[in-house]
C-alpha cells in the first residue's frame, strides 16, 4: 500500500495536498482498496461550502455507498469532473484522482503524516 510522504491524511481516509492556500483532497489508497471497484462518484459543485468532518461526496461500489468527509471547512473552487465519467481512476490512481480543491479554509482537522497514517490504517485493519 502506497502512502506518499508529501501528503497529509485524515483518519477518515482522505488525503490532503496543500498548494499555497489551496487544499486538494482525495481518497487514500487504503480507502479505495477497502471500497473495492468504485462505480460512481457524487461530487459537490464549485462554489459549495464544505464543513470539517461532514460529507462532501460519496462513492458508490456495486453493493455499497460510502461518505467522503471533508478534513477542512472552506469553499470548493474546483471539482474533478473527470471522475464522474471515469470513476475507475480512483482505484487505478487514487493520488492523481483528486476530488475537490478548497480555498478560504477557516478550520482544518489535525492531519496525520504518512507514517502516522500508515500506523492508523494498520490498527484499523486489526
Amino acid at each position: 500500500m502506497n502512502f506518499p510522504s508529501d501528503l497529509l491524511y485524515a483518519k477518515s481516509h482522505e488525503w490532503v495536498r496543500k498548494e499555497g492556500g489551496t487544499y486538494v483532497i482525495g481518497l487514500s489508497d487504503f480507502a479505495q482498496d477497502e471500497l473495492g471497484d468504485i462505480v460512481f462518484v457524487n461530487l459537490p459543485q464549485e462554489g459549495d461550502s464544505v464543513t470539517m468532518g461532514e460529507a462532501f461526496s460519496d462513492v458508490e461500489s456495486v453493493k455499497a455507498v460510502s461518505d467522503v468527509l471533508s478534513p477542512v471547512s472552506g469553499t470548493v473552487v474546483a471539482v474533478n469532473e473527470e471522475l464522474m465519467d471515469d470513476p475507475a481512476k480512483v482505484n487505478a490512481d487514487c493520488y492523481g484522482a483528486w476530488f475537490i480543491k478548497v480555498e478560504n479554509v477557516t478550520e482544518e482537522e489535525e492531519l496525520l503524516d504518512a507514517a502516522a497514517y500508515e500506523a492508523h490504517c494498520a490498527a484499523e485493519k486489526e
Binding site: F40, D58, E60, S61, V62, K63, A64, V65
Partner: protein
C-alpha cells in the same frame, strides 16, 4: 381443509418430534403470553375451491360491466390483444421474484431491458426505470428528482388529473415541500401565470399532455418558460397517444412520466396499473427504482443485471431519494408485450382512431341543442361538454349499458378510444337525444 400445505398433520407431528417438541405451541414459547390470540379470528370457516369460486363469481356478478365505456379520466378501456393476456399469464412470469439472482433471471431482466427501451422510444428520453406504482406516484417521484437545496418548490398545472395532483401534494407533505398550483385558462395552462409564478426557487413544473380535460397544451412554450427560469420541465403523457403525438423529448422535457394502463392493462377498478418514468442522461442518477443494465458474463456473453443499485434504499437507506422496492414488473411486462404485438403502426392506429372517434362523438353531441364544447382549443380523445340535466342523461345511458362521461366542474368529461365503433357512438347519441325528448 387446505392451507396449501404440503405436509399432513402426521408428518408435521413427526417433524415436531425431531425438534424435541410435542405441539405447535412449543414453537411459540418466545411470544409473550399477553399477546397470544385467545379466541377465534374475524374469519369464516375454511372454504373449498368450489365454494370460493361460487362466492367470488357471485360477488363479481354484482358489478355492472358496461358494454360501452365513454369515460376515461385516468383509466381507459382500450382493446387488449389476446396475445397479451395469454403470454403474460405464464406461470413463471407471474410467480418469479425480483431478479436479484441474475444467472437464473435473465428472462425477467431482459424483458425489463426491452421495456425500458420501448419507454425510451415512446418518450424520446434516454433512460427509463423498471416501473413505479402508477401515473400519480410517477409524477410525485419525478418532482422529488428535481428538488435540491436551492430549488425547492414544485409547480403543478391545475389542468392535471386531480388524483395526480393529490398524490404530488401528499408526497410533498411528506418531504415538507411547497406545491404551487398554476391556474388554467380555457382548459389549458395559463402561460402568463406560469411565467409569473416561476422563480429562483422553482424546482420544476409538471404538466400533462393531453391534460385532464383532454386538451392539447402548448408544451413547447411551457417548456421554454420553465427552462428560462432554470427549472426542470416534467411532462405527464398518455403512452397510447405517443404513436402519433410529439414525444416529451420533442418538447424539451427533462423527465417524462405517465400512466401506462392504456397499454394492455385492464381497468380493474383502478389497479394494478403501471407508472413509467424516463429522463435525460443528465438526471439518470436521480431516477428512483430499479434499472436493468447490459453487461457481460464471465465468458464474455451478453448478460443483464439490476444496476446502479447504490441509488436504492437497500444500500443508501435514509439517504435514498425514494423508498421504492416492489414495483409493477408484471404490468411492465404486459405493456411490453402489448407494444410488441401492436408495433409502431398498431400504436399509431390506436392514437389515430381514438382521436378521430372522439372528434366524431364531440361533433354529434354538439348537434344536440344545449350541448357544446366547454373549451375552445384542440383536444385529443377526451373533451368536456356541457350536458344539461346530466344526472338524468347519464342514467339513461347507464340503463342501456353505456357508461357516459364523468361529471366534472364545468360539464361532463368524455373519453373515446379505438374500442368503440361508430354504432356504439351513434347509439349513445340517440339515447341522449331521446332523454331530451328529441
Amino acid at each position: 381443509m387446505s392451507s396449501y400445505l404440503c405436509s399432513t398433520s402426521d408428518e408435521r407431528q413427526a417433524m415436531l418430534a425431531e425438534l424435541g417438541m410435542k405441539s405447535m405451541d412449543d414453537l411459540f414459547v418466545d411470544v409473550p403470553e399477553e399477546v397470544m390470540i385467545k379466541g377465534p379470528l374475524n374469519l369464516p370457516n375454511p372454504k373449498s375451491e368450489l365454494e370460493i369460486r361460487r362466492t367470488m363469481e357471485s360477488l363479481a356478478d354484482q358489478n355492472v360491466r358496461f358494454r360501452t365505456i365513454l369515460r376515461g379520466a385516468g383509466a381507459e378501456r382500450h382493446y387488449i390483444p389476446a396475445a397479451v393476456t395469454r403470454i403474460t399469464s405464464n406461470e413463471i412470469f407471474v410467480t418469479a421474484y425480483t431478479p436479484y439472482q441474475a444467472e437464473v433471471s435473465q428472462g425477467i431482466l431482459q424483458s425489463i431491458f426491452e421495456y425500458q427501451t420501448m419507454i425510451c422510444e415512446l418518450t424520446g428520453m434516454d433512460v427509463s426505470n423498471a416501473s413505479v406504482y402508477d401515473g400519480g406516484t410517477a409524477a410525485a417521484e419525478a418532482a422529488a428528482m428535481c428538488r435540491d437545496r436551492k430549488r425547492s418548490k414544485i409547480l403543478v398545472s391545475e389542468t392535471s388529473h386531480p388524483d395526480v395532483i393529490g398524490v404530488i401534494k401528499t408526497y410533498c407533505f411528506g418531504s415538507n415541500t411547497e406545491v404551487v398550483m398554476v391556474p388554467a385558462k380555457d382548459g389549458v395552462t395559463d402561460l402568463d401565470a406560469l411565467k409569473s409564478l416561476l422563480a429562483d426557487d422553482s424546482a420544476c413544473f409538471y404538466v400533462q399532455q393531453p391534460n385532464f380535460f383532454g386538451m392539447l397544451e402548448d408544451c413547447g412554450a411551457l417548456g421554454e418558460a420553465v427552462h428560462a427560469a432554470g427549472a426542470k420541465f416534467v411532462m405527464g403523457v398518455n403512452p397510447a397517444t405517443l404513436g402519433v403525438l410529439k414525444s416529451p423529448r420533442d418538447y424539451g422535457a427533462d423527465v417524462a412520466v405517465g400512466e401506462a394502463q392504456p397499454l394492455g392493462l385492464p381497468l380493474s377498478w383502478g389497479g394494478p396499473y403501471l407508472g413509467f418514468m424516463a429522463c435525460t442522461t443528465a438526471m439518470m442518477r436521480k431516477l428512483p427504482g430499479r434499472i436493468v443494465g447490459e453487461t457481460t458474463d464471465d465468458k464474455g456473453e451478453r448478460a443483464f443485471v439490476l444496476t446502479m443499485q447504490a441509488r436504492e434504499q437497500h444500500i443508501r437507506r435514509e439517504k435514498a431519494s425514494s423508498n421504492i422496492c416492489s414495483n409493477q414488473a408484471l404490468c411492465a411486462l404486459t405493456a411490453s408485450v402489448y407494444l410488441a404485438e401492436m408495433g409502431p403502426r398498431g400504436l399509431a392506429e390506436v392514437g389515430q382512431q381514438s382521436y378521430s372517434k372522439a372528434h366524431y362523438l364531440a361533433n354529434e353531441l354538439c348537434k344536440i341543442e344545449g350541448i357544446k364544447l366547454v373549451h375552445s382549443g384542440e383536444f385529443f380523445h377526451e373533451f368536456v361538454t356541457t350536458l344539461p340535466d346530466s344526472y338524468r342523461v347519464l342514467n339513461a345511458l347507464e340503463l342501456k349499458g353505456i357508461l357516459g362521461g364523468l361529471p366534472v366542474k364545468d360539464g361532463v368529461l368524455w373519453c373515446v378510444t379505438e374500442f368503440c365503433t361508430k354504432a356504439d357512438l351513434d347509439e349513445a347519441v340517440a339515447i341522449i337525444k331521446e332523454a331530451y325528448g328529441k
